[in-house]
Symmetry: C2
Subunit: 315 residues, 2 copies
């Protein structure tokens, strides 16, 4: 049996069939243009999905259902997109619309949840039962896997893992509070901290790296730190302490088997992970009888969203 | 069918039978003295429990098992007390010891987890599915109920809900980190803040209340604030902001159906709860589509530990 996984992104919607081993088959995609009406997007997606199913002979006999990961505020219980920040979705009854045209079960979830489930089920987390996934990007997203199943909270509105205060009255956050984990550990925050440090040290080689790449991004401080730049190392070590403190919070709350990092920053590999492991080990709760949490990096990369959406049928 | 619930406290061990409606029947208790050897405590407890079972005719035919809530670091999977802070328990294989003498299933958990489960199953949380319980006492303890079941994390070491950083480089915590929720929202922290405020305002009526009661405790600032004392109100409002920020963190992580407060401070009733509800409503995540979390107060009080320990068999 296969399941269909669909990942709604900012510039395109991508889908594929996923088999029970988590392998992505027969991809399809549909472009999204700024200004597209939400209703048109969904109707188009249904049409394309239907053609795809017909073309490949996917139907009730061999297909468990269609899972869709969508950015924004998703009511997974009701099957409704409450709203999406960058796409024109408002109170969109997407599950009902799909089921009027396609005779298959349909489930939806938030895109970060879908990616987390994919990683847990078929990626870095496949050996584990209880897993936290943190996605370090523009913001900090995440997913909670308990006993191999996605935990979403009431109406699918939980797992806002970037929105815990780690610093009372700290940096302002897009959510309205001050001091959120996201305001310290996102790529956006790292870029801001990098720029501030560059202003403080005009001789830092971060300036050279900026000139070579044309911009400051989440890699600038890491690249310079690897070359021994002191100011850059300060930025990286501060970043590790912010990220580490948030991770330790999640260790203490969930004592998961593993915590998986995804998003661009996770690609810094051992240089970042070794620092994080050390930071967390030095501050972990309790004595030797407290089980250590494996700190891992995403394995599925950009496929995690599609594979995870399909995994809603493989839980 | 009934289950036996046993609550190990600092000065005594209390037990009872609990029926399927969550009613406590036929209590028993055993004193604990400072300096008692761990092995003697467990052997005594087994003896008393056995006599209790025999006397009341509780056996396999009518009893699901024996649940025990124990303070400290409990490996609930292995059935072992790793260590207890105030009782002489170290690597104590308590489940094995019970089962050698009594022919009933035995389960153990941390005492805060047990109390949370009791409250969730038969107390303030009985109508809800996903629940967070925060116990505000010497520290901040807690429990996580997911789909009506206790979530304990690897080897039962999760749900350390007082040990999340809410203030980077903040107040030192007994766990070794700085800025833990517990260091701001426990009764201990409130007492410290109250004393500091009293030093700052020699005219505060908190001094009178102290003189009447013989000491400063978790009620001092609340009593004075209710009488209109400005400095005391400042203490209370700061406390509400600390507690509120931690609660909002748990709202965003779990989006539970309810959050239940227990411990002495929770007895402040509507004066505290109304302030907390307002604080959280003003700062809650997302738009109107984010479901509100019910903020409730413990209903079972001191019985929650025993009833909760028995509830390990009613999940």
């Amino acid at each position: 049996m296969i399941a269909i996984g669909i990942d709604v992104g900012g510039t395109s919607i991508k889908g594929c069939a996923v088999n029970e081993e988590g392998k992505a088959l027969d991809s399809f995609s549909m472009p999204l243009n700024k200004g597209d009406k939400g209703l048109d997007i969904v109707n188009n997606l249904i049409k394309i999905t239907k053609e795809y199913l017909d073309f490949h002979g996917y139907d009730k006999s061999n297909t468990l259902g269609i899972g869709i990961g969508i950015p924004g505020s998703i009511d997974s219980e009701a099957g409704v997109i409450d709203y999406s920040n960058n796409i024109d979705f408002h109170n969109m009854e997407i599950v009902k619309m799909f089921q009027e045209k396609i005779d298959l079960p349909v489930k939806i979830t938030n895109d970060a949840n879908a990616a987390a489930l994919g990683e847990a089920r078929f990626g870095a987390g496949k050996k584990f039962k209880n897993i936290i996934v943190l996605t370090l990007g523009t913001g900090v997203g995440g997913g909670i896997i308990i006993n191999g199943k996605l935990y979403e909270g009431a109406k699918g509105k939980g797992a806002e893992l970037g929105h815990i205060i780690i610093s009372l009255n700290g940096r302002p956050c897009s959510c309205g509070r001050h001091g959120c984990f996201e305001a310290y550990a996102s790529a956006t925050a790292l870029v801001k901290d990098t720029m501030k440090a560059m202003e403080e040290d005009q001789n830092s080689i971060m300036w050279e790296i900026k000139n070579e790449n044309g911009q400051v991004d989440g890699r600038t401080a890491f690249e310079a730190a690897k070359k021994g730049d002191k100011k850059a190392l300060e930025v990286v070590d501060n970043y590790v302490s912010y990220l580490g403190e948030g991770m330790l919070n999640y260790f203490n709350i969930f004592r998961p088997d593993a915590l998986i990092l995804s998003g661009g920053i996770a690609n810094q590999g051992p240089f970042l992970i070794n620092k994080l492991v050390k930071y967390c080990q030095d501050r972990d709760y309790g004595y030797s009888c407290t089980p250590k949490v494996e700190i891992l990096v995403s394995e599925l990369g950009y496929d995690s969203g599609k594979i995870g959406a399909a995994s809603l049928f493989f839980e």
